[in-house]
Each structure stands twice: as C-alpha cells, then as structure tokens.
C-alpha cells in the first residue's frame, strides 16, 4: 500500500528516513525526532524506576525479614520517587507525545523554537545524568521530598540528586514555554481556539503550570543545596531557620507538578474516547475550560500536604476548602467522558481499553483524594499507605494509563506500523488488574495505620503487603509484555494506513509516519475537532460545509 496521504507526499519519505545516521538524530531540529528521543529516554528511566519499585515490594514481602538493610531500602524509595517524578511522569506526555503531536495537531511545521527544543532535551539528559550519578556514589536517602533538617544532615550525596532535579526543571520550563508560543503563533489558517483538539488545550494549560511553578522548585532546590554546602540556615532550625518553610516552598511547586502530570493524560483520554465511540466529545467547552480551572486551583492548594506539619489552623481551613473545589472540574471531565460513550458506537481497541482503565482507576484515585482533603480524615490517613495508594492511583492509574492509551493510539502515526491487538488486550488487562491488586490493599493498610516509608512493619500488616507484592509482579509482567509486542511491531508490524482509526484531527490527515515537513501543503481548517457524524468523521481540514462555511 503506497504511503499516500491527502496532501500527496512523496512515496516512502517520512521523518524517520528523511536524513540518515545517528548524528542527524542527535543534531535534529525536527520536533518529531526530538519527541522520539525523549520517549526512549523517558521509557528507559521508567524501567529503572520500575525496577526499584519491584525491589521495594520484594523487601516488604515479610515482616521482620528483609533482603536489603534499612539504609538501602531508604535509598531505594528515594530513587524510585525522584526518578519517577522528575524524570518520567512529569516529562513523559508533554515532552514525548506533546513534542511529536502539538505542531501537527495545530497544523504547523514545527514548534516555535526548534533549537530551544533540542536544547531542552539535552538539559533533561544532563539533569538525568547528575541524578543518576548519585546512585553510584553514596546515594540519597531523604525521600523525593527532601524534607529538612534530615536532608541537611544526612551524609548521602543529596546534592547530586538536587542538582539533577534543578537542571531537569529547566527542560520542563522551556518545553512549556515552547508550546505556549507554538499554540499562540503557529496555528494553521482556520484553526481557531474553539477548533483546537482537547489534547492541545490540555498541553497548553499544562505549559502554563510548567512555566509558573517550576521556577519555584528551582529556587527551593538551590536554597537546599546552599544549606548543605554553605549552611545558610534558612531551613535549618539549628541556625534559626524554619523547616516548615521548606515544606511550603517545596509543595508550592510540587502540588502544581501533579497537575502537570495528569492534565496531558486527561487530554489524551479526551482524544481517544470520541474516536472509539464514533461520537463527538460531550461538553467540549466545559472540558477545555476545566483544564484551566484545574490549573488555577492547582496553585492555591499546596498546604493540603501539610495538614499535620504544624502550620496554622487557618491555613488548614483554607487549604482544605479550596482543595475540595478541584474535584469539580475533574468531575466535569469524568462525567463528560462517560456521557460521550452513551449512544455512541463503542470499539474495544487498546486505546479505548486503556481509557476504560483510566476512568476506573482515576475515579478511585480522585475519590480517595476527597478523603485526604477532608481535614479530620486526613489527620489519621496522612503519611500512611493510604496516601501512597491514592497518589499511585492517580499518577499510575491516571497518567500512565493515559500515556499507554496515547502510545497505542498514535503508534501507527509515529511508526507507520500496526501492533498486535490481541497482545494489547492481554497486556492491558494484566496491567490494570495487577495495578488494582498492588494498590487497593494499600488503602486498607493505611486505614489500619501502617505508615509509609517503613522498611519494616508490624506482623499484622504482612498479608496485605504480600498481596500487594504479588500485584507488582503482575504489573511488571504486563509492562514487559507490552514492551515486547510493541518492540515487535516496530520491527515487523503490519504497515499502517494514514488514518486507521478514522479520526478527524489533523495528524491523521497526513501520512503514517508523517513527512519531515508534517504536511506538504498547509492545511486549511474548517471544522472543529470532533465532527463525528453518524455516517463518518469529517476531517478538520475537509472543505467547508457550504451550509456552515
């Protein structure tokens, strides 16, 4: 089947083979290639972070018996957290899928600042190298949250991890900056804001958070480095400083960060569900605005991580109240996604299966968030395994499911190949089932009082810990199998048509894989992104309907 698209591309020429050789990749300015490089690097760190997760759960199999000592365990949960948060979950969707898709979905040839884009990738790599270097030295055992004064006093190589996160933060800032200007200045003719796909709205809201929040992380980490090196005393009670101030600084970034993690995933779900329901997304405007609602509220709830820290009762009151409100836009999205399916025509391909998984897992994650937002309830549950379960449900059950949905949805587009559907059903079932087996027991452990970051625990918690560990093996198997069948598809998958899912958005109106310039002719947009009529979807760049032109 010829590599022929609506815009008449030369047979066989695409971004993958446009220029050959590894040097052309390492010096590329093509957003698609940069996205691919990010994807493989991020997935590599996901594997590393995942190995630490498996080791942690192994160590927790028995109460009283451990194959690693306490200091090693403490380092492992620090590495797992820091790697997953800073090197995987925050960059994954924006830097990998976002870089690949944003220009194409708005009808542009590239992002606003291609050289800055490549530079961002290398900044990410530099940050990753610093952080990883710590693993080969004395390591770090502070937890990914680096609370003072322990993080000032510990003799582990904390500064390397702090520096790594500091540097990687600039990658996040510049990526966000690039996307904002791209959406402002490079939309194709006719691509008004109300015709933008919801993935773009999501990335745009995420980019705003990245630009505004990450600099505060930069200054926080810098101050902590100075604490360790120079002893400036701002966070050290022994020198007159305030350890709770560190928590405020840290969470001022790190709470918005979790919305950097989830908003893009929600954007992907908003793309997948209409396509596989053959029906427009329900409540487009509300979903678009809800992304901004979430981004705004994200900045004023950080204190809900600190209800028992010693901050004032007034702060607790305010943060609890405002946190409740983040459930509203989140609910808007969730109800709209489910209602989109009603009276649709549902197809059970892998992207849709992951969307189902997302809705189940994220609903649990979100509802348990309400428990934690409730002041009295949080007093008992904070710092226990209930919190660990909550954030894994939203970060893995949310962001990672979204990433997997996106990887499968756009797989044919990015690689020009199709993957094995049957394998994807098995793997997704393993992952979603395994995830519930791993983390649902942790809610119960938390309710029973088992604290987090515990190398050892009381015997009465053993059974549920063992169930959880078995679940982690299921997840691991599911991911390994996914890597296997996707890898096989990359090598020898069936050739993909330009629009296998009959989707309406612009990336599907060019060849699979796309040509170097994305489109041979600039697309002219006349339709919104979800014109799924009963007789078929109308591409965004189809000629204008005379009645609505």
């Amino acid at each position: 089947m010829s590599n022929h698209s609506a815009t008449g591309v030369v047979h066989g020429d695409n971004y993958l083979n446009h220029t050959p050789g590894i040097w052309s990749w390492l010096t590329t300015l093509d957003h698609k290639r940069i996205g691919v490089m990010y994807l493989f690097t991020v997935l590599s760190f996901f594997f590393v972070g995942g190995v630490f997760a498996l080791l942690i759960r192994m160590s927790l199999f028995y109460s009283g018996h451990h194959f690693i000592d306490a200091n090693t365990y403490n380092k492992f949960f620090t590495y797992h957290g820091a790697i997953m948060v800073f090197l995987v979950i925050i960059p994954a969707i924006p830097a990998a899928l976002g870089n690949f898709l944003v220009p194409i979905m708005v009808g542009a040839k590239d992002v606003a600042f291609p050289r800055l884009n490549l530079f961002s990738y290398y900044i990410y790599c530099a940050g990753a190298i610093f952080a990883t270097a710590a693993l080969f030295m004395r390591g770090a055992d502070t937890g990914w949250t680096f609370y003072t004064p322990y993080s000032i006093q510990t003799s582990t190589t904390v500064i390397l991890v702090l520096t790594g996160a500091f540097i990687a933060g600039f990658s996040s800032i510049l990526t966000g900056l690039n996307f904002i200007v791209t959406v402002h200045k490079l939309r194709a003719p006719g691509m008004s804001w109300s015709r933008l796909p919801l993935f773009i709205w999501a990335i745009y809201a995420t980019s705003i958070i990245q630009v505004l929040a990450t600099p505060v992380l930069a200054i926080t980490l810098m101050l902590l480095i100075l604490e360790r090196v120079v002893g400036i005393g701002i966070f050290d009670p022994a020198l007159g400083g305030d350890p709770i101030l560190f928590q405020h600084f840290f969470w001022f970034y790190s709470h918005p960060a979790v919305y950097i993690m989830i908003l893009p995933a929600m954007g992907i779900i908003s793309e997948v569900i209409p396509v596989f329901s053959r029906k427009p997304i329900f409540g487009y405007k509300a979903i678009a605005y809800s992304s901004f609602g979430i981004a705004l509220i994200a900045f004023i709830v950080w204190g809900h991580h600190m209800f028992v820290s010693g901050q004032s009762e007034l702060a607790n009151f305010v943060f609890s109240l405002i946190t409740m409100f983040v459930a509203i836009p989140t609910g808007v999205k969730t109800f709209s996604w489910v209602w989109t399916m009603a009276r649709g025509s549902i197809h059970f391909n892998a992207p849709m299966l992951y969307a189902f998984g997302f809705i189940e897992l994220f609903t649990i994650g979100g509802l348990t968030g309400v428990f934690l937002a409730t002041l009295a309830i949080d007093v008992h549950l904070t710092q226990t395994y209930f919190v660990v379960a909550h954030f894994h449900y939203v970060m893995v059950g949310g962001t990672l499911m979204g990433l997997l949905a996106g990887l499968h949805f756009w797989f044919p587009k990015m690689w020009g190949k199709m993957y094995d559907e049957k394998a994807s059903v098995i793997a997704s079932t393993l992952i979603i089932l395994g995830f519930n087996v791993t983390f649902f027991p942790q809610f119960i452990l938390g309710l029973q009082g088992m604290p987090r970051r515990y190398w050892d625990y009381l015997p009465e918690f053993q059974t549920l810990n063992q169930v959880s560990t078995v679940g982690s093996w299921l997840i691991g198997a599911g991911f390994l199998y996914t890597a296997w069948y996707l890898g096989k598809a990359l090598m020898s998958g069936e050739k993909a048509p330009s629009n296998p899912w009959q989707s309406t958005t612009l990336e599907w109106q060019t060849s699979s894989p796309p040509p170097f310039e994305n489109f041979l002719e600039t697309p002219i947009v006349s339709h919104w992104a979800y014109e799924y009529l009963p007789e078929g979807g109308v591409p965004q760049n189809a000629p204008a309907n005379p009645a609505t032109a």
């Binding site: 300015l29 040839k109 606003a112 600042f113 600099p215 101050l223 005393g233 305030d242």
Partner: protein, 225 residues
C-alpha cells in the same frame, strides 16, 4: 545561519544585514513576535524564581523585624545607591542601543552596547567591594557568621538572604554581560540591523528585567525601616 528546516532569506535595502527566518513561520514578523513572546515567558519564570527569595525575605522580616533593622545598618547605602544609579543608567544605554540598531546607526549601537557592558562591570566591581568588606567583618551567611558587633539573634539569616539574593542577581548580571558582548560581536559583523534586531531587543528585555530586580532588592535590603 540556517537550520535544517530551510529558511527564507531577506536582504536589507542598505545591502548590509541579511536575515533568514525559519521556515516554519509564515513571515519574519511572525518569527519576531514569537521570539518576543518567548522572552516574556522566560522573564515570567525569572520573576517566579526571584519571587521565592522575596517571599523568604518577607517571612523572615516579618518574624524578626528588629534583627533586620539592626543588620541592614551594616550595609553600605551609598554604595548600594550608586549601584542603583549605575544599573538604571545601563538600562538607558541598553534601550538607546536597541533604538540605534533598529535605525541602522551601527557605530552608535556598538558604543551604547559597550557603555552598557562597562556600566555592568562597574556594578560588579562595587559589588565585589561590598562583599569583600562583609567577609572581612564576619558578616557571613548561616553557620559562617562570626561577627560580634550585632546583638540581635539569628542575624546570620539576614546575611544568608543578602548573599543569596545579591549573588543570584549578580549571576544574572554576568550572564547579561555575556549576552551584551555577543550582541557587540554580531553588530560589528553586521548581522544585526534594521532588517533583523530580534536578539538586541530580547537582550534588552532581559537587561531591563535584571535592572528591575535590583530596583526591588535595593530598598528591601538597604533601606529597611
């Protein structure tokens, strides 16, 4: 200078400056507008970053007002005020340099950029004298604080904030100087002029921001009342 996207070339009427703008933009004007937006967004991130330090300052000032009052008397207001004048003047020369570049007055632009650079140097030299005086007096951050004249407790906190805030600002001045030197080189080589002055304009924004940060720092640190 080209990138693998290919570029559009634009020669100027005076046969001087040639600019290629990137292919993914429809017009050179779009590229210029995009570049300005990018720089504004970057400066917003800088505001947030310095903002964190200002918040820390505000909190400790609120907790220990008497200590802050006592400590600030050990700062040299004359030198600080001089530096303020120096930086404001450099902002003026920078703005004039941008204007000169836009109007094709190359020699003038080079002179003004050089003046900005020299004024920045002057700022750093004065800073050097201030800092070395503090080292001498034991007015050092955190656990290195050894001064015995100050009575207030936790005075080390004030000087921690002083050194971190002026240090980070000074770092930004040094980066600005490198950028201005780069502009001088490119203006000399006729790469910047009426047809293309984006880098000059953007560095101008950056420099005004650096000046603005100092305008907030100076009263907070030196004029505590």
């Amino acid at each position: 200078m080209s990138d693998s996207h290919g570029t559009h070339a634009m020669t100027s009427d005076d046969g001087g400056v040639v600019h290629h703008f990137a292919h993914h933009f429809a017009t050179a004007d779009d590229e210029f507008e995009a570049a300005k937006q990018g720089m504004w967004l970057f400066l917003v991130t800088e505001v947030l970053m310095f903002g964190g330090l200002f918040v820390a300052y505000g909190i400790f000032h609120g907790l220990y007002p008497a200590m802050f009052k006592e400590c600030h008397e050990f700062l040299n207001v004359k030198l600080g005020a001089t530096n303020t004048v120096v930086l404001i003047t450099s902002s003026l020369t920078m703005a004039l340099a941008v204007s000169a570049t836009q109007r094709g007055k190359r020699q003038r632009a080079i002179l003004l950029l050089t003046s900005t650079f020299m004024l920045a140097c002057c700022f750093l030299v004065i800073k050097y004298f201030e800092w070395s005086h503090k080292f001498h007096e034991g007015l050092l951050p955190g656990k290195h604080f050894t001064n015995t004249e100050i009575h207030a407790k936790k005075a080390d906190l004030f000087f921690s904030l002083y050194f971190v805030m002026t240090g980070l600002h000074g770092f930004h001045v040094i980066v600005g100087m490198c950028l201005i030197a780069w502009l001088i080189k490119r203006t000399v080589k006729k790469e910047l002029g009426p047809q293309y002055y984006t880098p000059t304009e953007l560095v101008g924004f950056y420099w005004h921001f650096v000046d603005l940060v100092w305008i907030y720092l100076f009263p907070l640190l030196y004029l505590v009342n």
